[in-house]
């Protein structure tokens, strides 16, 4: 190992490592608390003072996926032997399951709207980014800035006219409406990011293809697309995460049919009082995919969150 003046000393590394790991652990605490609360019983979750050691139970998860009501006194007297385990669990709290909850529906809405809008944002964004990167588009810089600036507007402000527009077009509370809206919001990100990725592909590859007799279009999807595939894939994950987490538009423009999970999770409520284990269970199921994506994305993270302004 060669000596370098810029290489930190062993002691410095240790010091830095301890501080960073310490910060990371503190930062993880709230997330761990969410996961842990998901496995607590109702009384344990609101224990006063809070409980660190507790007996784990999946009650929260059962409550998350079911709606329940209080058992009547006659029903309590009935034998409970042949009931499934989840019904027995619920009966221990004096309740009975009357149906499934809306959580899985909301979760699937999040998936449909998330993937749908990501698909369109990527297809349209890739096309536009290619054109911006390779052709002479009039007023290109202005257009690119215009595309970016659409992201600066507060969503609540944009929501006023969108609300009116959707109402007139019958798009309120529809999957199509939400996909269209998130596509529009994500387009700015996808155009900027993919534009950067395509810029990095040497133009000579395409020229060679053109000389070989490819049409422009063939050159685009046989040469450029495969080269930009990783970049496009990571852009897609960013678009998906945005649509997955979005709250302001979702809470204002959806209600029964197309509501996604973020506006729904805080409103999960049990029999008598807020059911924190169920809220935590819902949050855990919802947050884990994003954590997995974050790990997959770690190489492109910076580029994604800065719209390609910082490329590393």
């Amino acid at each position: 190992m060669s000596f370098s003046v810029t290489e930190p000393s062993h002691g410095q590394k240790w010091f830095a490592g301890i501080l960073v790991v310490g910060y990371a652990l503190i930062t993880l605490l709230p997330l761990l608390w969410i996961v842990a609360t998901g496995f607590k019983s109702g009384p344990d979750s609101i224990a006063y003072p809070p409980k660190i050691a507790f007996e784990p139970t999946v009650e929260g998860y059962v409550n998350l996926f079911t709606t329940q009501t209080r058992l009547s006194n006659e029903a309590k007297a009935e034998p409970v032997d042949d009931l499934p385990w989840y019904e027995q669990l619920v009966r221990e709290r004096g309740n009975t399951i009357v149906g499934t909850s809306r959580y899985s529906e909301r979760f699937f809405n999040s998936i449909i709207i998330g993937f749908g809008s990501t698909f369109f944002a990527i297809v349209l964004g890739t096309a536009a980014a290619y054109a911006f990167s390779r052709f002479k588009v009039p007023l290109k810089d202005d257009l690119l800035f215009f595309i970016l600036s659409t992201r600066m507007m507060p969503p609540i402000a944009v929501a006023i006219p969108i609300f009116l527009m959707f109402r007139n077009l019958g798009l309120s509370d529809t999957h199509a409406g939400m996909i269209l809206l998130y596509t529009a919001v994500n387009l700015s990100l996808s155009v900027w990011l993919i534009n950067g990725f395509i810029d990095e592909i040497p133009i000579e590859y395409e020229e060679a293809a053109l000389i070989d007799g490819y049409t422009r279009f063939q050159a685009f999807y046989k040469v450029v697309l495969p080269q930009a595939a990783t970049g496009i894939a990571s852009t897609a994950i960013f678009c998906l995460i945005f649509a997955w987490n979005e709250y302001a538009f979702a809470v204002l423009l959806t209600s029964g049919t197309a509501q996604t999970a973020p506006p729904f999770i805080p409103t999960i409520i049990g029999v008598g009082g807020q059911d924190w284990p169920a809220v935590a269970a819902g949050a855990t199921i919802f947050l884990v995919p994003v954590m997995v994506f974050t790990i997959l994305l770690r190489k492109h993270l910076l580029r994604g969150i800065t719209f390609g302004a910082v490329r590393k």
Binding site: G17, I156, A157, D199, I203, Y247
Partner: protein, 314 residues
């Protein structure tokens, strides 16, 4: 970067350009760009123009039977003349300034430490990044639970560290603490963002500059102030720009955390706007409010971008 197409044209000999089959480049360019522009016009620009139009009327969504009248600048006068508007602006400014200060300080420090390249720094960087990727509404909602004095974790952690009675203070209820409660959660979520950008800045500094400084016998302290800081500054300013715009728009996290209380202390402009537009349904009035916000964001952002460019050119 802007004249790539020109370069293609000049680099491609005329005979080859001639042999390219299919649609002309110009046609392809339009086919590729048009859908994006169309969607953005339909979902962004058209609504914006509509908002401007509505802002001069007394229109209310929940009054379909009322006659819509032009009332000129009345909505604007009322908003700008209302002390409450300025109170929300103040709350927003407090939130904006302190989140940025804290995130820059902590984020830069973390990046500086991570740049010491200790073993496993990649793993820990990824862990630190988690909060930023999660849904603010879902996480914000859970923080109300963490902040609950009797049953939440936060007060017990603080009491463990400082010895204060956990029930003796309430982050969301005390007027002195509530503005900080939202700053803390936002800082927890978004410090990693600033950290990542600073890290990119630090890694962009070539070792040779430090080596040269070392030859000149410049102290480490001096190197930090004359090399590290100036080289990272453009990155840092970019981070501040992004955080500034995002936090000006802030809605989901804070609305879930405090609902704007106590009193009006954490009622940020977006929350106030939401109440006017979607609770009181004063559509015209809220549109004027929205226009004022647009102008403020664009105005502040463009002044800032000018400054940023000047720093970059140095």
């Amino acid at each position: 970067m802007d004249n790539v197409a020109d370069k293609v044209a000049s680099a491609t000999p005329p005979s080859i350009a001639h042999r390219v089959k299919g649609l002309s480049d110009r046609a392809i360019a339009w086919i590729f760009v048009a859908p994006t522009i169309f969607i953005l016009l339909a979902i962004n620009i058209f609504p914006l123009i509509w908002t401007v139009y509505l802002s001069f009327t007394n229109y209310a969504v929940n009054r379909p039977n009322r006659e819509v009248k032009f009332i000129g600048l009345r909505n604007y006068e009322r908003i700008l003349g209302d002390a409450d508007t300025w109170a929300t602006m103040q709350a927003t400014a407090h939130f904006l300034i302190w989140t940025i200060v804290l995130q820059v300080l902590i984020g830069f420090t973390l990046a500086y430490l991570i740049n010491k390249k200790f073993k496993g720094n990649d793993l820990w960087t990824t862990i630190i990044v988690f909060p930023m990727m999660l849904s603010p509404a879902v996480v914000g909602n859970f923080w109300t639970f963490l902040y609950q004095p009797q049953i939440g974790l936060f007060n017990y952690v603080i009491s463990f560290v400082t010895g204060a009675d956990p029930s003796s203070f309430s982050m969301i209820g005390d007027i002195a603490l509530a503005p900080w409660a939202i700053v803390i959660v936002d800082t927890w979520m978004w410090t990693p963002f600033v950290m990542l950008i600073c890290l990119a800045g630090l890694r962009s500094i070539p070792d040779s500059i430090y080596e040269a400084a070392e030859c000149d016998r410049a102290s480490k302290w001096r190197q930090f102030w004359t090399i590290t800081i100036p080289m990272v500054l453009p990155f840092l300013m970019l981070a501040v720009l992004f955080r500034g715009i995002e936090n000006f728009k802030m809605f989901d996290l804070v609305v879930q955390l405090t609902g704007g209380g106590p009193g009006n202390l954490t009622t940020l402009t977006s929350i106030d706007l939401k109440r006017e537009a979607f609770e009181k349904w004063r559509t015209g009035f809220a549109s004027a409010y929205a226009v004022i916000l647009f102008v403020t964001v664009f105005g502040l952002a463009s002044i800032y971008v000018k400054a940023l460019n000047r720093v970059k050119q140095r």
